[in-house]
Amino acid sequence: MPRNPFANDLFLPVFLRVMLLIVVGLIAVLVAQRRSVRVWRRSTLFLRARTWLLIGPLFVIAVFTGGFVAFLLATFVVAQGSSEFVRVAGIERRYAYLLILWGEVGLLVAALARDFFVFLPFGFFILLTLVPILTGRVQDAHRQVADTLVGYVFVGLPMAYIVFVNSSEPWGLNFLVIVTVSVAVSDIAAYAVGSAVRSPKLVPRVDPSKSWGGVLGNFIGAAVGVGLLWVAVPSEWSIAAVVALGVMVAVGSVWGDLTEGFIRTAFRSEARSTLLLGYGGVLDRVDSLLMAVPLCYYALILADKLVG
């Protein structure tokens, strides 16, 4: 059931911090660019800031409202993200529909039937193998099945993880808010530092735009993000756990970027969505988050076990 977001003491502090972050980012873009309005309005940084102005508050409200509102947002990300992967990888439509369907099923399982959560990847494999078995079309089926599975592990499964953590842990909401905002700040800082500091490329054959300066930005951004949302850190988390979380936010952000880069390179795809101004598609925006959420979750548990 949806909740009144204002009933949660955390809502207003988080909402105001996110808005402050976006407004400061927009002003920083204005100051940094110092160009004519015409040129400035078309710059990638401005388009990104404008996109954030829309999705930032929307995300915070949806997450704190919960229920079907948050579910609708997750459903949207799964559907659009999976579709973008399908276009990048050249997956046939019959497999594509299954990818989206199982992604949505995963959200439901994570929310309502958590005992079956671990069955999701194998269940999807079984479902996919039914396509060549039932249709008799086996040519190229192995590649289609494999690519669709990669798409599920890259998009659908991590989204299910987000719902799983949110619904199974008492601090699930705090975790989700901290990780999401920190990943966003980490990505923005990576872009800003990477653009400002000339440094060698990280893995040019995989992602020609990612530099060591960008990686430094990822770590700085993750630390700033976690610090900014310190108000949301639950009292039961140890300092070691919070540090591990921050490190994993940065690692996940870098890894997510590189993974999307290698997927695009591997499939030699220039398929680009027009969904989010300045970013392209949903996948471009959530790739880091999808990688960071499972990493952060297990890092948090591991750190707590080791320390506590």
Partner: protein
Amino acid sequence: MTEPEQGGTAEARRPRRRAAVPTYSWARTPPARLVRSAVQYGALVPLLRFISPFTVIGKRNLSSLKGPAVFVANHQSHFDAPICLAALGGRIRRRLVVAAAADYFYSTAVKGAAASLALGTVPFVRQGGSSRESLQLLKDLAGRGWSVLIFPAGTRGTGASGFKKGFAYIAVDAQVPVVPMYLHGLEDVMPKGSFLPLPGGVVIGIGPPIPPGDDYNELVRKAEAGVAAARTVVKRWEGA
């Protein structure tokens, strides 16, 4: 209140006879329009925004429209008409009909009635003698203040050229402007031959209205150029 079957043109004042092409005039009565508005605002537009979030470029070109117009666009998908309706906004959508292939959308009575009620389509016979009746109906509707959305290439997947003259007959004879539109992205969402959409973003470019003039061929050329210009704007935007 139902509309009269015939309009105000000289041809329309001939003695009434049973139309070979049904006009589905009941779908343009106030109760049907009310239902259509509810369906479009309550279900169609939100669903489209979910499946194919769309961005409209050049919507300010619509602000100069004070009366009806003929909207022409490239045709790629069965999603084209609903996306155009959503992109044009409530002010224009309220009094707009969509020319829909009679052989496809009106192959059964139920299908035709549903399309007419939900989307405001009118059957358009693409070939044979009845196509003149279809054109006449659209001219009459344009003369009575209804805008017309038509895909002048005639079929899906033909790009932004090779327009047929039908829309020019409507615009010149009814003296209403032509508004070129370019749809980008729907070829991936629901290409010809597929029955289920695959979610994805869509961009719609709307060009400035083109005055009808009095030369059908000239108007066709201008409309093709207008759609091509809208395509250029969309492509430039996509690369931003």
